[in-house]
Symmetry: C3
Subunit: 681 residues, 3 copies
Amino acid sequence: MATEWPLGRRIAYGADYNPEHWTQDVRDEDLVLMREAGVTTVTIGMWDWALLEPREGEYDFGWLDRLLDDLHAAGIDVDLGTPSAAPPAWFYATYPEARVLTRDGVPLGPGSRGAAAPTSPQYREACVRIASRLAERYADHPAVVLWHVHNEYGAPVCEDFSPHALVAFRSWLADRYGDLDGLNAAWGTTFWGQVYGTWDEVGLPGPTASIGNPSQQLDFARFSEHALRECYILERDAIRARASQPVTTNFMANECPAIDMHAWAPEVDIVSNDHYLTAADVDGHIGLALAADLTRSASGGAPWILMEHSTSAVNWQPRNVAKRPGEMARNSLAHVARGADAVMFFQWRASRFGAEKFHSAMVPHAGTSSRVFREVVELGRDLARLGEMQGTTVRSDVALLWDQQSHWAQGLEWRPSVDMDAQERTRTWYEQLWRDHLTTDLVRPTDDLGRYRLVVAPASYLLTEQAAANLTAYVAGGGTLVVAGFAAAVDETDTVHAGGYLAPLRTVLGVHVEEYLPLREGATAEVEWAPAGEWPTTLTNRVWQEHVVLDGAEVVATFASGPGAGLPAVTRHEHGAGTAWYVPAFLDVDGLAPVLAAAYADAGIVPPALPEGVEAVTRVGDGVEYTVLLNHTDSDVEVPVADAGAVHELLADLPVDGTVHLAAGGRAVLRATVPTPDPRG
Amino acid sequence: MATEWPLGRRIAYGADYNPEHWTQDVRDEDLVLMREAGVTTVTIGMWDWALLEPREGEYDFGWLDRLLDDLHAAGIDVDLGTPSAAPPAWFYATYPEARVLTRDGVPLGPGSRGAAAPTSPQYREACVRIASRLAERYADHPAVVLWHVHNEYGAPVCEDFSPHALVAFRSWLADRYGDLDGLNAAWGTTFWGQVYGTWDEVGLPGPTASIGNPSQQLDFARFSEHALRECYILERDAIRARASQPVTTNFMANECPAIDMHAWAPEVDIVSNDHYLTAADVDGHIGLALAADLTRSASGGAPWILMEHSTSAVNWQPRNVAKRPGEMARNSLAHVARGADAVMFFQWRASRFGAEKFHSAMVPHAGTSSRVFREVVELGRDLARLGEMQGTTVRSDVALLWDQQSHWAQGLEWRPSVDMDAQERTRTWYEQLWRDHLTTDLVRPTDDLGRYRLVVAPASYLLTEQAAANLTAYVAGGGTLVVAGFAAAVDETDTVHAGGYLAPLRTVLGVHVEEYLPLREGATAEVEWAPAGEWPTTLTNRVWQEHVVLDGAEVVATFASGPGAGLPAVTRHEHGAGTAWYVPAFLDVDGLAPVLAAAYADAGIVPPALPEGVEAVTRVGDGVEYTVLLNHTDSDVEVPVADAGAVHELLADLPVDGTVHLAAGGRAVLRATVPTPDPRG
Amino acid sequence: MATEWPLGRRIAYGADYNPEHWTQDVRDEDLVLMREAGVTTVTIGMWDWALLEPREGEYDFGWLDRLLDDLHAAGIDVDLGTPSAAPPAWFYATYPEARVLTRDGVPLGPGSRGAAAPTSPQYREACVRIASRLAERYADHPAVVLWHVHNEYGAPVCEDFSPHALVAFRSWLADRYGDLDGLNAAWGTTFWGQVYGTWDEVGLPGPTASIGNPSQQLDFARFSEHALRECYILERDAIRARASQPVTTNFMANECPAIDMHAWAPEVDIVSNDHYLTAADVDGHIGLALAADLTRSASGGAPWILMEHSTSAVNWQPRNVAKRPGEMARNSLAHVARGADAVMFFQWRASRFGAEKFHSAMVPHAGTSSRVFREVVELGRDLARLGEMQGTTVRSDVALLWDQQSHWAQGLEWRPSVDMDAQERTRTWYEQLWRDHLTTDLVRPTDDLGRYRLVVAPASYLLTEQAAANLTAYVAGGGTLVVAGFAAAVDETDTVHAGGYLAPLRTVLGVHVEEYLPLREGATAEVEWAPAGEWPTTLTNRVWQEHVVLDGAEVVATFASGPGAGLPAVTRHEHGAGTAWYVPAFLDVDGLAPVLAAAYADAGIVPPALPEGVEAVTRVGDGVEYTVLLNHTDSDVEVPVADAGAVHELLADLPVDGTVHLAAGGRAVLRATVPTPDPRG
């Protein structure tokens, strides 16, 4: 990922562009309107396999040649997609055995989007062939600055139960475990009498009478992701062999749980991500921040592309809430604040037909005389003013652990409580960090944690001995660690740790766990929060308690009711030069506030004193800092800016004097050429 | 449908009759009891294929000969069914490839009801063969007055994904679109790369990874209905070639959404309908009224047969609420009031076995010494007193638009909000018209609307340019039109109209729509209803708002909260000689009252001043009018009748003097030989 | 079942033991800990097929020889399982046609638990082969005191739609009905035209367009259970031919509705049962009591084995609530009180891997330094003090009817109300009996009822003429009968009785039913309870009313609202020397209290005067009675004990003087060597 940034010294701006939906007169208008909107970059080609290769082995590139020439003439860069996310109808007809099979054995056909069986040799060959032809032809086209392989790997389908998958799964397992003894041990096949005697007996985790072997299921999630990654790499390498532009594929961060973005990021030249608000979430901007932070973290802090988001409503949620005036701009700047150097949309012009005709676009069905288009033009102007931010980086003192494999494992059946959801817990802990105006990285438990003052593990159900040792060393070296309950239950094979739940963290946390104590549906209990020197407070507890036994930790809070009444609800343990907290309670975001505040104190973190609902994130360049301020509330606020002499607001192009006034829903970007008077206090 | 009424100058009365369930002694008793109940007509034969053709090509008509003779001797007319809704067990065993396949490819077998694959040549041949043999044999039997093809086409299954269906679908598409270019254009296959290169690539809308092409799905709904209609026509024509009695098939009005009754009605000689209350609906009689009005409308105002309803509970709903005393009679008279000239039940005698043994009947399990049988006898007596109403017609000043194809389209996936349901909206608008005591036709948007004072479009998601022109001309000619939100979004291929949502109605409504603004689940907002000269009122809004921009219309109500706060919630526009309203809000029935009241004023409609909960519908004959009055409340009411001198109440056979007293739950039928003093004021 | 008790003159104690999960050092520790815990008995072998027969026809018994020797040396009895619940992976690979097919035709594969198709000849042969080899080898091993065939027949899957099942189903039907005429009559195939002409046309009740024939479905439930029973008998007979130890299989009482325990019990030498609390049920101990009473009743009053329960949480429920301190002991003693002479757990040591790793065990993941293990040791000590109770029996004056076939029939589709659930009704009636401290047998309606003072029929939807005659004779002979609504609707073929619902009980109850009157979802109504000489009380009624007509019975309560307002809600009828009550209302447990109290009066039953929430059950031996007292409340209580001179509390080994003090959650076992001063008053 040390690739040079391909989209220019600016914040790139644009969209997926589908000229194949339109007549030539509309396309001509598109180029005019793109200029009006300040568009710098478009993504094309992802859905054009049938146009490029109308019959197997017969190609038609003429229309694409002309399109690229036109875009180049208009000064617009192109991110050129490979079409492997949508094989043509002829592919399905010619290779029916390449179709994905569901767990129940139902083949998934054409007439939608989504790939063929990723392990199908026919599919892989066809993908490499078309990607190679594109790369050969456009390696030197001046419009093409980036390759965009596939679209949203893992969505809408990742797992495949076809015969091709069966063969590949056995091979993958043989690579992983060497022999059947290794497999039998890893999968615990003596349980329920599942011991395998030959490789031919090993199958995909298909329908079974009771639940399937959890270790097998976890390996199948790994294998399924691996199969997709192999497909990506085949296409990428075919392009690299023929062209020199960088290669990306658009991730979906936490919205596509089939993909472990941290594992994929090293395979792309530039990380790019798609993000859509969850309409039902009234605090969707916090989910956005989490996704952006996760993307930046996967990118190792390097600039990344917001490849898709929406100008207003999407179409695939139950109730597709439209964005309110100003919301699109706040969303866009939040991504920029958190490391995006390109702001792209799905899509340029709303499609009149197909599955996504109710999806918003830069040019909506209502045309250019519309709120949306006016805001699109305004955003283009704003981003143009932020070009100097390109290449600057985001720094964070806090890390939240994110381990997709643990999420997979926790999500399997027959866990202690269906109410314990890794994504929910991660979001809730993240949300309190966001409310405290702290910028957070999302890192893996085996990553180097030394640069963080605080590390929070909200959902580390699966934690290897190696990862536990890393966390222990982090604390010993002076770090502050907060671990939420239901942690370190199992190892990488979903086997309970020897010594019991939490055993690998017993040393650092100074506690061990006798038993999990889930609550009944809807039940609530109370936690008495009583740290030394503070007035006790009662926090609301739901879903979960544990029977924790002290091995040196102190009790900071106690379950006041529920099955664990009288037992520790929060513990604190000094280990080496650092401190480790354990929180075996399920607290809502308000309940996490005092817990995190206490951990901040241990970590030497002082959250900035900003108005509630104001997002502030700082990007750091060479001798200059940029702070993006976003007011997510319905009231005007004043944000104090210390030492305002050197601070300039870029959007209005005005100097800042003492405070910044942020209107309800407003936004500002401050540049400080000396070390910024940090608005975070 | 200009057929002569085959059931006599009376309101026919009867039921499905299944003597094959019973021993001869019970059958003998049946004939006695039918006379006691006043039964005039029974339907037989629908489930007797296996008895008539016990082995393929071997027939046994002797028992049916005797049965028809017995019924004729008892003076009972017969509606003779063809048995194609239940192929015999030998058919499934002999032709397994004729089974319906579900979308997932699971074959549906025997042991229930429901047809074979409607496109199966074997099924079609077998149906025509048995229908032909019946028609040949009973063309001249004096008992047989009507042919009844099949049973409830489209229920319980309409769509079929068998190989036969695939072949037929391609053929149907080729007929519709001429060539693949036409198909590709109509289906918008450039979206998500679905372009078809040969007909062999075109498939049924089977399982896909993400949602299937919506235009393909809409066409599949059309095709599936068409395939059933072809089956009907094959049987009908086989009968017509051999017999002269009229032919019907029993529809299910709005309860079988797979069938577009308006499109089928021209194919039958007499329209007949099955109707069952929705037990969970405490206002089920309003749903009944809608179904009856829809049936009459499909019949073009001609008399129709209520082919099935129930004396009390059904058996296939989650909680099968029994009818209360008097409810069966009110239900029956409501159908008569709305145009039915025959009142038939499923079924004569309750079956002791099979899937519907808990369904009520004219003779219940408890026998003749029961409330139900006593009311059955009483109803027979009542209907006998209404014989003179046969052939009179219902008139209405109001039409509600009903377009089954639009309902299909709106019901597909990925619409702006799952809470926008075409049937719900239609029922809610209809319900306020019912509360206002207005009799309503349900017509298609392309029908001639000139005879209506008011036309309401509650759910016109799909509206063609041609239909929009029809509505526009209707208003220009002096009509009053009310259009509810989410209208005219797409054309007949589910393609968004050029110019955006509502574009085809922009001229007549004087507004256009920038964006849909769905609300979150359960959210409410307020509409400030403030027509000129009225005190403002606050109406409750849920589910839906739109961003409407005025192009000449006036604002009558405004969104006071929610995403559209400050934008128009109701607009009014004078166009030509008429007026057009747009209501881009989702109002419950109470909220629709003032909106419709204002539209009535424009339309010159004065709703009759009747007590709440009293249903009054008038049928008009030659110099005589009949008004059915039904009291759906638990209180006695007095209904004023102007100029009572010439009015006679038929059920009690008494003259009416000034007012009619309706007991709680009571009923009356007024005959006025001069132009009726309209009880509607 | 006249077998000698094989587990010694003691309350046996132990668990499923899976040494195959562990290394030798852990196994060595196991034997030490078992002694510490007082373990007398373990069950082994159920999941070891792949270890015993690693390849088809190749056996390895050496490890099992050594294990049995070790256990015997440690003084531990062995219940040796046959492994037929988990065929090895090689079996599935070798015999794919032996897989269970779901109703939709999806094959269920390996990688879980659960048997192959029970009708598969390959499966049956393989089961008999391995069971025979085990029986031959261990017929004389001194450790082996009991054979344990299979595991939990019917769970997790009972029904199979494979081709093997089709063949067997036809054969079973031919045996049952003789010829097709019998089948057609029993299934009512004239309904919906389903008449069968040849046996080849008869199928499994697979997917159909509407609901399948209910009689066919009921027969399929019977057949499916029969197929499993055949499998059991094949293994049992193979063992009996080679070994003399008694044979059992572990039932699941009411928790596995696929199995009719009363029908199976005669086939086993010792009845054993698995029981797990329903975590969502805050009164789970009442469900436990019902299951235990059902098990004892199936066992004909003979001692039975609690083969599995849990020390704390299970893992397969949505929220797996852990047991609170003392709860495991109360649960265990409740089983003993109700006839269990062995208390066994799943499992000895918590598995670290596999599907049930979060299931509790005698040795939890946290090890021996844990609350759970301490309580396990304490329970072992308690049970050791109760050894003299072994072989004593429980007596009851009350019987609740339990007919699994009726439950199957009632559970089919298209019944009058989905809210009428046989298990719920049974539990609710049982619960009031429990609250009244009455010990209840669960018997079949055709059983000899003469020894009971009171018989309650909570859910007798299917009641044969023969059973009705038995109930009638019981009342005529002086018994008191209470029948709840929706009774005697159908006969054994799910055919409504001639004469209508309830007809076979018309004589004894003195009423007949005109119509069922289900209530809408969530609706409530009132019952006016007004027996002669009592103040009227209003009871809450939901779900259900009936239109009952008196034929000699008196009205004790009346529906005060709802569809049956004014009709009888409870009737009482003296018939012969006894009394019969009919309760056509759906009352919650509080509403059943006065109804049952009135029936007790008729029956001459005086419920014991014990504190609320205290469970008291008495076992009777030769000149001695043992009363187990369990305090399920959170408060201490005093239980009066009359004539305390001869009473001794066994757990504390102290004499009882006047009252027994039961701490909150506490337990006591009283021995009275003279006829016990019954604490039940």
